[in-house]
Amino acid sequence: MFDAITKYLSSATTPGEAGSIFWATIYILIITAGISLSVIAMNWLERKILAHMQIRLGPMRVGPHGLLQPFADALKLLIKEDIIPAEADKLVFWSAPVVVTMTAFTTFLVVPFGRTHAVTDMNIGILFMLGVSSLGVLGIIMAGWSSNSHYPLMGSLRSSAQMVSYEIAMGLAIICAVLMTSLQTGTGTLSMIGIVEAQASQHTWFIFKFFPLGFLAFGVFAIAMVAETNRAPFDLPEAESELVAGFHTEYSGFRWSLFFLAEYAAMLAVSSIAVTLWLGGWMRPFPNWLSGSIWNLAFSLFPALTLFVLAGLCLLGTARMPKIPQMKIQTVGLGIFGLLLGFIGLVLIIPGVRERVQDIYWFVVKVAFFMYMYIWYRGTFPRYRFDQLMKVGWKVLLPTGLAVLIATALWGLLPQISSAIVGVLP
């Protein structure tokens, strides 16, 4: 048993490539659980960060600093009454949240958390992610239509118009990155692992490639991906000041929580696309500049250090807890949580584990950056009006994407063009 595990872990392929159904299942379970956990964490972080941006405290009551608030919320949602409107289309109403959740989670099949840490590597990786995530909008439309109510219908109409508009700009930005993968080898690739390996072999993240061009393509994608996931400032499908709650107005309890789960899973999925295409995927920062065994060691200690800092913060919180009998359980709980984090940090120092975990760590850190940006946008920008939304999509992002695409193609062809000109000259 132990031999089988170590033998697999020392191989350098994903379970899909190795053809191992057992390990693929294990990976799928781990990824699904990890995403659900990070959605829970995001729920708490979003409320806390938004609160701090508005100089409030945020959730403080359930658990120390409201750490158990998301679990309490989840429990509340699970035992809430499940209401289906009398005039609703039952079958479509039932299947809508399932479709949304399934598509959001299926995209993670091809996300490479490391060279070996993906369920599988597909020849059409990025196309698969785009396709499956574009099916998610069907779930939103189904939810809005089947509720048989005006506000949800308006929400889903807005959602479908918005998704179709921004998918084009998103696709153009992605094509720029795919074009860049073909520069050295002559044939590009759509595979997610292949894209990161192309960045490794070209010694640059694609965001810095052809300096303003890679950055512009990334910018187009970064804007379009917020619109694709229906988040502020593009959250018109669920604009609470106009449409009550948009497409999920009629949903309650567990079905509503599925929509919530799917929204955050989709945010994680598009952030992973951005990280894979432009920010070097699982690669650590500065692989060229700060190279060498000492820097490798230093960067591989980052996961453990992060956990140590978190553990230190927890223990500091324990020490600063009010010394009254009512807070005793919370104090002890926070202390145990801090010690647990510290213990995980210690495990991550072990050389074998360290080597194995660092690529996952860097990928997750980059995705976490995008998740923080999502919260920051929500705390900063006012919502767009619908005509402004369409204007941004069609009149700004689409032409920019097209121009960047053409410029990238020309720049990539520059060596061939110049050699052709030199050949013609006498």
Partner: protein
């Protein structure tokens, strides 16, 4: 990776595709029909995957299931459905229908009988090499060998787009 349970998946997808295709024409509610059509398209994408054409499967999902069907549903939601549901669903053209169905069936049978040799008897063996660079092969074929037909097709699409804009805009 060696395929598993191909027979099961083939029959599963076949039943799914045919069943949902029948639902497309029998459902009274246009939204239900459109949703059934999406299931058909997804089952077809599954077939493409089984035939080692992942790119075609991906394009099928992105364009048909994710793009065109979203627009279908968008339009259906905008029109008034109440009247549609009450109208008679099939028109009584059974004579013409039977002739067309027989002709199509005959054609399919003819193609199957004459071109049986061109169908691969074993699906995956020999196609393993293609799976690895399916997208690259299609790209090379489209932009190399079939450059002119490809450009003509894109010109056709451009004309269609211009036509749509002319028809939709009141004042040009």
């Amino acid at each position: 990776m060696i395929p598993v349970a191909t027979t099961f998946f083939f029959y599963f997808l076949a039943v799914l595709a045919i069943g949902s295709a029948i639902a497309v024409i029998t459902q009274r509610n246009p939204v239900h029909a459109a949703l059934a059509l999406i299931v058909t398209l997804l089952a077809l994408a599954g077939f493409y995957l089984m035939l080692y054409a992942p790119f075609v499967a991906g394009v099928q999902i992105v364009l048909y299931a994710g793009g065109i069907m979203v627009l279908f549903l968008f339009v259906i939601m905008l029109v008034n459905l109440e009247q549609n549901i009450r109208e008679y669903q099939f028109n009584k053209q059974w004579l013409v229908g039977t002739i067309v169905a027989l002709a199509l069936g005959g054609l399919l049978l003819f193609v199957y009988r004459t071109g049986r040799g061109t169908f691969p008897t074993v699906f995956y063996q020999g196609y393993r090499g293609l799976e690895g660079d399916n997208t690259q092969q299609i790209g090379l074929a489209l932009y190399g060998q079939y450059m002119l037909p490809f450009e003509i097709a894109s010109l056709l699409l451009l004309v269609a787009i211009v036509g749509a804009v002319v028809m939709a805009k009141k004042r040009i």
